[in-house]
Symmetry: C2
Subunit: 166 residues, 2 copies
C-alpha cells in the first residue's frame, strides 16, 4: 500500500468530491447573478476554469433533482429553482454524490462484509448524523455572504442539536 508508509499520509480525508465542489461553485455563481435569466454550463465553467462537460453533468443532476431549472436551445442555461437561502449544502452534495455516509455500511447497496461483528457501526451512524446536520445548516446563500455564514451556521447547528439526538 503506497499510502501506508508510516511517515506520511495522503492528505485530506473525508474529502468532498470535485463534482460536489463544482456544483457548489456553480450554485454560488447563479445566486450571485439573479439578474441573468439563465446561465449556460459553459459560461460558468469558463469563469472558474472547470471542465465544461463535467460541470454540465453536475448541473444536469442538480436539475434532475429539482434544485435548478434548465432551458435548452440558444440563450438557454440554468437558473436556481428556489431562493439561495432555501438550498442547503447537504442537498447539493446529496444530489451530486449520493447519500452521505461516513461508513461503507449504513443500508446502502454494498455494505462491508464485517458488518455482522462490527461494533462501531452504531456510534458512527450518530456521528454521521451530526455531520449531515452541519451540512444541512449551511445554505448556498451562506456561501455568497460569507460573513453571515458563521452566525447562521452556529444557530442552525445549535438548534439542530437541541432538537435531535446526536
Amino acid at each position: 500500500m503506497g499510502g501506508s508508509r508510516i511517515g506520511e499520509q495522503g492528505d485530506g480525508v473525508l474529502r468532498l468530491t470535485k463534482k460536489a465542489d463544482y456544483g457548489l461553485m456553480a450554485l454560488k455563481y447563479l445566486a450571485e447573478h439573479p439578474d441573468s435569466v439563465s446561465v449556460s454550463a459553459k459560461d460558468i465553467a469558463d469563469t472558474y476554469g472547470i471542465p465544461p462537460q463535467l460541470l454540465a453533468k453536475v448541473l444536469q443532476r442538480l436539475t434532475k433533482v429539482g434544485l435548478l431549472r434548465s432551458h435548452a436551445g440558444m440563450n438557454g442555461g440554468y437558473a436556481l429553482s428556489r431562493q439561495a437561502q432555501q438550498i442547503s449544502a447537504f442537498e447539493v452534495i446529496h444530489a451530486i454524490d449520493g447519500p452521505l455516509f461516513i461508513t461503507s455500511c449504513t443500508k446502502g447497496s454494498k455494505s462491508c462484509d464485517l458488518e455482522p461483528n462490527c461494533t462501531i457501526k452504531e456510534p458512527l451512524a450518530r456521528v454521521n448524523e451530526s455531520i449531515a446536520g452541519v451540512l444541512k445548516s449551511i445554505s448556498v446563500y451562506d456561501l455568497v455572504d460569507a460573513d453571515t455564514a458563521a452566525a447562521r451556521g452556529q444557530d442552525g447547528l445549535v438548534t439542530l442539536l437541541h432538537s435531535q439526538a446526536v
Copy 2:
C-alpha cells in the same frame, strides 16, 4: 465517467477510509479489554475479520503518534497509552489518514489548480472546522458506551460551538 450516469451515484460520500474504521474498532476493542496487558494485532484482526497485516500498520501508526504503547516479542502487542475518554475520534482519524480537509485545497501538499478564482474555499473551511469539531467531541469511550455517547456528543458539540466560531 462511470459514476456520472445521471440516475445513480456511488453511495457514501465523505466516507471514512477502511483503515480509519479498523483503527477505531481496534481502539474500542482495547478499551473494552483493560484487563489484558497487551493485545496483538493478530488477535484483534481475527476477532473482527480484518486483514492482519493491514491492521498491524494502522496500529503501528497509532503507536507512532502516541495513542498506543507497543511491546514486541512473545505475549507482546498494543495497549492504550491514555484513558479511552481522552482519545478523540478526530485524533485517531488524523493519525491514520492525515489532516481532515473536506476540500482538496486548504494548505496541504497539493492544492487544486482553480484555487485562485475559487470563491467557496473560505466558507467551506468553516464547514470543515465544524465537522472536525464533531469528531473532536467523540471519544473512544463513547464508542464503547454507546448509550452515553449521545449525551456526551451533544454537550461537547454545544460547548464547542459556544466557544469558537463555526
